[in-house]
Point group: C2
Chain length 328, copies 2
């Protein structure tokens, strides 16, 4: 570790301000050098406050994502063991696709502090404010056949909900197929893109957007009523690097299990996370509108909707809670 | 049209040598200018022979692919109406994927005189000798759902066979799922790659390699016994631009029909092109080896193999004719 990295580590682990003199003694460098390293860290985007007569305090929440901040928390085998951390990009999905033209790695992570053209499902735009959330794409190559891929979105949603629940005291709901909600408002979303030949999956690109440290006013007016962040519901602030490492771990564990056992072992947990089950819903698919009660999910990840014509498995579409009660 | 293009057009349509004097009179330019334009065409790769006391003859078969050589033959609506013609590239599939990151067009054609890393199915290498064949990728966005995509390979194989049969006197066989054969030897292949979300197809990239003007000795020794070209079986040479335009047309027509009517209307024609039907075959899939008689194809494009355990639909795999006769 360079002296600069040592200073950063010391500040990161400190529970009280650390004086320049302490750092100078501990690292056996001059106080001028300590000051120079602090300046350099400030230039890199670290928020370090100098409290008069006490010392330096690192604001961990404003820490930029970096290999240095992430790696200490990482417990995965391959996930995020190759990674690209960007200041800004159009969208991490696009960067992932470009990367995939000439590269390949199961668990490649692309994360960006900001996306200028972030997209959700069906090409809907996704707000990706600088430094406030986790805007990322995972390139994975699960050992499954192309037709086995659809439930991946649900498995990923569960893994992310689980990661959030490990790091915070929050309860996250899943709205089929790809939204993460807290108190009925959207806190995150997943966009799954498959690249395959008829024989095999070349790659799945899991695009994940997660609102972490936004305040309500950070959201554009048009989405203030429907969007939320983890921080809005949580007493203590959330350290993005730690959350990202936990997401990496939970994703890896879940997708390894899915490869071996399919969606079956996830069904019960998924239903527990889905308050929509048992409710009257309206589903809009590419071809029709279906009304009925969401009664469960099948082994292919299709939402089961009980209608007057029987139970219909829904493979894709937009589902909303109906306002009126069920008639039959 | 510039004088140079006029010279090219005149040579292209000529049935006998055209003298410099004729060109000079016809275009009202000096004979020196005629000579300069001919030099410039030679530099561009055109094979123009100057026959003493007679005049210039253009060797159409050695004509490089270009928008100028292709467009006069093109009768499509959108197919090949955007195109990229390359001297050389790693593989047109890679170029197509790169192009797709920031672009979109239904019928985009990428064709290259040479591929340095051409690939067939299952990442097998594909020999793509400079100027001898048609090495290309089509980016298409058919109005079908992701799960409806699999028969696209078969539809494309039929369209290409049909295009070859329109331009030549040859009979092309199809070997399920993606090979084109003449006299039992491989003349072409198709590699289908799908990019999709669970809801919609983002793009299908049809990679097509077709051996056109190779002589037998143009093939590497390792594949001389199994590879062939159109020219080897055809009396008159084949003009690549004309063939490519016919492929564009037949692909467009076939895929438009497939969008509306599915694979059903193609089944009969496909079976007529497939001498494997009725034969005893061995099929190697990712998970098992199946022996039986190829008895047909279903509406999803799966090969139906009658085995001692009943008829098995085969969705992917390698199929070869068995040497022994069927026992049951």
């Amino acid at each position: 570790m360079t002296p600069k990295q040592q200073i950063l580590e010391t500040l990161r682990n400190a529970s009280a301000p650390i004086s320049g003199e302490q750092l100078s003694t501990q690292l056996s460098i001059s106080r001028t050098m300590v000051w120079k390293h602090i300046q350099s860290l400030l230039d890199e985007g670290y928020d370090i406050e100098a409290i008069r007569k006490k010392g330096y305090v690192l604001n961990k929440l404003q820490e930029p994502l970096s290999e240095n901040t992430l790696t200490p928390y990482l417990e995965t085998e391959t996930y995020a063991r190759q990674l690209m951390i960007l200041e800004s990009c159009s969208s991490t999905q696009k960067v992932a696709k470009e990367w995939l033209v000439t590269n390949s790695f199961d668990g490649m992570l692309i994360v960006s502090e900001e996306q200028t053209e972030g997209k959700g499902r069906l090409n809907r735009s996704w707000n990706s404010t600088k430094g406030k959330g986790l805007w990322m794409s995972w390139v994975i190559k699960p050992a499954i056949l192309p037709h086995e891929a659809p439930p991946i979105t649900l498995v990923a949603a569960l893994a992310i909900a689980h990661a959030i629940e490990q790091i915070t005291t929050l309860q996250v709901d899943i709205k089929w197929p790809n939204d993460l909600l807290i108190d009925g408002k959207k806190v995150g979303g997943i966009l799954t893109e498959l690249q395959s030949t008829p024989e095999q999956i070349e790659a799945i690109i899991l695009g994940i957007g997660l609102n972490v440290n936004h305040q309500q006013e950070d959201f554009e007016e048009s989405i203030q009523k429907i969007a939320t962040s983890l921080a809005i519901h949580h007493e203590t602030p959330i350290y993005r690097s730690q959350l990202l490492a936990e997401i990496a771990l939970q994703l890896e564990v879940a997708i390894r299990q899915f490869e071996k056992e399919g969606f079956a072992p996830f069904r019960e947990r998924w239903i527990r996370h889905s308050p929509m089950i048992g409710q009257h819903v309206t589903a809009q698919t590419v071809r029709e509108t279906i009304q009925g009660v969401a009664v469960g999910i099948n082994e292919y990840g299709a939402l089961l909707v009980e209608t007057s014509q029987g139970v219909i498995p829904l493979f894709s579409g937009d589902v909303t809670l109906s306002k009126r009660k069920l008639d039959f």
